[in-house]
C-alpha cells in the first residue's frame, strides 16, 4: 500500500513524542533544519517502511501529522 | 391589570417578566429573596428559565453565560452578594455582555444588617470590580418608577451590550405601593448577531473579556473609554424642581429622595425656598442639573441612608465649590428619618453647621 505521510514542519515543535511511539522507528529530529518558530521539527526517514498505524498522529500534541493510504 | 397593591420586590420581578426576561439566576439574601421566590413561581408558568444557584459567584457566572448566549437575563442580590459579583460585572463590561443586576441595598460593610440603606453607591456606581468600566445605574424612588426602570434596564443593557445595575434599597424592596402595569412600556430585544448559539454553518464567534474584534486590551479599552461609555452619557435622567429661586437644594435618590420631598414640603410651609435634584441615573450622574440652581442658593444638603455619605462625593464634584455641601444620614443608633432631614436643614440655614 502507498502511504502519503506529511508533517507540517511549522506546526511541529519537535517534542519527540511521535518518535518514541513509531513501531518501526522511522521518525527522527531533523537536525538540519529549524522552522519558523525556532524548533527542529521531526521528519519521516523512510515512508516506504511506514505501516500506517497512525500512532504518531495519535500522540502528536500539535495535530501536525497527516497520513493517507491508498 | 389596573392598579394593584404590590410589594416592591415582586413588582420588580413582574416587570422583568413583562420586559421579556428569559432567565433569572439568584441566591437568597435579605431583603430581596422575594424576587427569587416570585421568579421561581412565575417563570416555569411563562416558559422562562429559573435557577436558584449555589452562590452569588455562580450566579453572576450564569449571567455571563446566558447573556453571552443572547438571553435577556436578570439577577438580584444585596450588598454581600453584590460584592461577590464584582468580578462578573467587570467581565461583563470587558466582554460587552448585557444583563440586569438588581441590588436591593442593605447596611454594610460586611454582612451588615438587614435594614434598608444606601451603602452600595460607591460599589455599584464607581465600580467595585477591577479595571476601568462604567455601568448605567438606575435608581427608582417609587414602585411605579421602579417597574419602568426594570424594563428600561433591559433595553439599555441590550442597546449598549453592557450590564445595567438597578439600585434600590430594602425599603423599596419591602414596601407595598400601588402599581399600574398597564402603564409599563416594554420593548422587544434587538437582534444579537454576536451571541453564542452554535455556528450553524456560519463563522465561529468568541465572547471573552477581550471584546469582539479587538486585538489587544489597549484597543478594546480605548474604544470603551473613548467612545462607548461617553455614548452612554446621553442616557442621564433626573428629576429637578424649584431650583431657580432655591435657598437650599436637596440632592437625594431612592428612599432618601422620598424623605427629602417630605422635608422640602415641611420647609416650604415654613417659608423656606427648597429645591430638589433627584438623580434617576446615578451613572451617568446629572452634573448638568446643578447649573440650573439659581443665585439665591446658600447650601446643598445630601440626605443619604449612610453615615458619612457616598453620593455626596459626586455632589461635591457637581457643586464645584459653588455652594457648601452637607450630609445628613443615619444616626448613631438608627437609620435616618424625615425629621433628621428637616433638622439638618434648620441647622444649615441657621448657620450652626
Amino acid at each position: 500500500m502507498a502511504i502519503r505521510y506529511e508533517i507540517d514542519r511549522d506546526m511541529c515543535k519537535g517534542c519527540g513524542l511521535c518518535i518514541v511511539v513509531c513501531p518501526k522507528g522511522l521518525l527522527k529530529v531533523d537536525t538540519e533544519h529549524i522552522n519558523s518558530k525556532g524548533y527542529q521539527p521531526t521528519m519521516m526517514t523512510d515512508v516506504s517502511q511506514c505501516i500506517g498505524c497512525g500512532n504518531c498522529g495519535v500522540m502528536c500534541p500539535d495535530g501536525a501529522i497527516r497520513i493517507e493510504k491508498d | 391589570m389596573a392598579r394593584v397593591l404590590m410589594k416592591g420586590n415582586e413588582a420588580v420581578a413582574e416587570a422583568a417578566l413583562r420586559a421579556g426576561a428569559d432567565a433569572y439566576y439568584g441566591y437568597p439574601i435579605t431583603p430581596q429573596s422575594e424576587i427569587a421566590e416570585y421568579m421561581s413561581r412565575e417563570m416555569p408558568l411563562r416558559g422562562r428559565s429559573f435557577l436558584q444557584t449555589e452562590s452569588e459567584v455562580a450566579t453572576i457566572n450564569m449571567v455571563w453565560g446566558a447573556g453571552a448566549a443572547g438571553a435577556r437575563v436578570i439577577t438580584s442580590s444585596s450588598g454581600p452578594g453584590i460584592s461577590l459579583m464584582q468580578e462578573g460585572i467587570s467581565y461583563m463590561c470587558a466582554g460587552r455582555v448585557p444583563g440586569v443586576i438588581v441590588d436591593m441595598m442593605r447596611l454594610g460593610p460586611g454582612p451588615g444588617n438587614l435594614q434598608g440603606a444606601q451603602d452600595d453607591y460607591i460599589t455599584c456606581v464607581k465600580g467595585g470590580g477591577n479595571g476601568t468600566y462604567k455601568v448605567i445605574c438606575l435608581a427608582p424612588a417609587t414602585l411605579q418608577e421602579a417597574i419602568q426602570l426594570v424594563s428600561d434596564a433591559f433595553d439599555l443593557a441590550d442597546k449598549y451590550t453592557n450590564p445595567v445595575i438597578f439600585l434600590a434599597d430594602g425599603m423599596i424592596g419591602q414596601m407595598m405601593e400601588a402599581v399600574d402595569f398597564d402603564l409599563l412600556k416594554t420593548n422587544p430585544p434587538p437582534e444579537k448577531p454576536w451571541a453564542l448559539r452554535g455556528r450553524h454553518g456560519g463563522p465561529k464567534k468568541v465572547i471573552s473579556a477581550m471584546a469582539r474584534g479587538h486585538v489587544n486590551y489597549y484597543a478594546a479599552n480605548w474604544e470603551n473609554e473613548q467612545s462607548r461609555y461617553p455614548a452612554m452619557e446621553k442616557e442621564v435622567r433626573y428629576e429637578a424642581s424649584n431650583l431657580e429661586d432655591a435657598e437650599l437644594v436637596f440632592v437625594a435618590y431612592g428612599s432618601s429622595a422620598r424623605m427629602a420631598k417630605y422635608a422640602a414640603g415641611k420647609l416650604r410651609g415654613e417659608g423656606v425656598r427648597v429645591g430638589l435634584i433627584r438623580p434617576i441615573t446615578l451613572w451617568p450622574f446629572p452634573h448638568a442639573a446643578f447649573d440650573q440652581i439659581g443665585p439665591r442658593c446658600k447650601a446643598v444638603i445630601v440626605p443619604e441612608l449612610t453615615i458619612i455619605g457616598q453620593m455626596i462625593e459626586d455632589v461635591q464634584i457637581s457643586a464645584a465649590g459653588r455652594w457648601p455641601v452637607f450630609h445628613v444620614g443615619n444616626q448613631q443608633t438608627r437609620p435616618m428619618n424625615p425629621s433628621d432631614v428637616v433638622k439638618a436643614a434648620h441647622e444649615v440655614l441657621g448657620g450652626a453647621k
Partner: protein, 244 residues
C-alpha cells in the same frame, strides 16, 4: 484513498500555544476529533478556562466563551439552559475545576446539568509557573511546596473523579490518560461516551485526564509521560468510574 490521520476540522489552522510535548495539545486535539466525528461542530459551544488552555477559545472552530477562573461549569449552565439543543462543553485545568471552581463544578454535577466537562490534571498550576495544585502528589516539589507537598498541612491530593462520581446528577465519570497511543485511543472513546451522555440528555458528564506539564516539572516531554505513569497513575486510578 483513506485518511488514517489528519488535523481535525474542529480546530482552526493555527499553532497551539502550548509548550512542546504538553499533554494539553493531545487533549485539545482529542476533544476536537470527537466534536468532528460526532457531528457536533455546528451546534457546539465551548467554555474555555483560565490557565494554559485559555487559548482554546481561539483554537476550536466552534462558538467559544471565556470563563472567569473556575466558573466554566456555571457559565455552561447559563448557556445550556438557554440553548438546550446546543452541545455545551467545558475544558478546565485542575485548579480551575477543583480549587477555585469546586463549588461550581460540584453543583453542576449536583443539578445534573447536561454539559460535558474535560478536566486536565497535571498536578501543577502551569500557566502561573508551577505552583501546587489540589492534585499535586505527596512529596512533589512545586514552586509553592519547595520541600515537597506535606500532607499534614496541605492535605492529600484531591481525586476529582471520585469526588464527582457519587453525585446522583453525574451520569458519566471517567479518568483516562494520554501517555501511550493505546491510552489516547481509550481516552477518545471515553470522551465520546461522555458526549453521548449529553446528547441523550442523561445528565452531567466528566472525563478527567491525567496529563503532563513538561515545562514546570522540568522534564522532557517523553520523560514527563514516564513520570506521570510512574507517579500519578498509582494514585489516580484510571477507568470508567460511572456509566449511564
Amino acid at each position: 484513498m483513506a485518511i488514517i490521520c489528519k488535523r481535525s476540522s474542529a480546530l482552526n489552522p493555527m499553532q497551539f500555544s502550548y509548550c512542546p510535548g504538553c499533554g494539553h495539545g493531545i487533549i485539545t486535539r482529542i476533544v476536537a476529533e470527537c466534536l468532528e466525528e460526532m457531528d457536533l461542530i455546528d451546534i457546539a459551544i465551548g467554555v474555555a478556562p483560565v490557565g494554559c488552555s485559555s487559548n482554546i477559545r481561539m483554537f476550536y472552530n466552534v462558538d467559544m466563551l471565556s470563563s472567569m477562573h473556575g466558573r466554566a461549569c456555571a457559565n455552561a449552565t447559563g448557556i445550556k439552559r438557554f440553548h438546550p439543543d446546543a452541545f455545551v462543553f467545558t475544558y478546565q485545568g485542575d485548579g480551575d475545576f477543583g480549587a477555585i471552581g469546586t463549588a461550581e463544578s460540584v453543583h453542576a454535577a449536583h443539578r445534573g446539568e447536561k454539559i460535558s466537562t474535560i478536566v486536565v490534571n497535571n498536578s501543577v498550576y502551569g500557566m502561573t509557573g508551577g505552583q501546587m495544585a489540589p492534585t499535586t502528589l505527596p512529596g512533589q516539589k512545586t514552586t509553592t511546596s519547595p520541600y515537597g507537598r506535606d500532607v499534614e498541612t496541605c492535605g492529600a491530593p484531591l481525586r476529582f473523579a471520585e469526588l464527582i462520581a457519587p453525585i446522583e446528577g453525574a451520569k458519566f465519570v471517567a479518568r483516562v490518560s494520554i501517555d501511550t497511543p493505546a491510552h489516547v485511543r481509550e481516552a477518545k472513546r471515553a470522551v465520546k461516551r461522555a458526549f453521548q451522555c449529553q446528547i441523550e440528555g442523561k445528565g452531567y458528564s466528566m472525563v478527567e485526564f491525567l496529563s503532563t506539564c513538561p515545562t514546570n516539572w522540568g522534564l522532557a516531554p517523553q520523560e514527563a509521560m514516564e513520570w506521570m505513569r510512574e507517579n500519578m497513575m498509582p494514585y489516580f486510578k484510571m477507568g470508567i468510574i460511572k456509566d449511564f
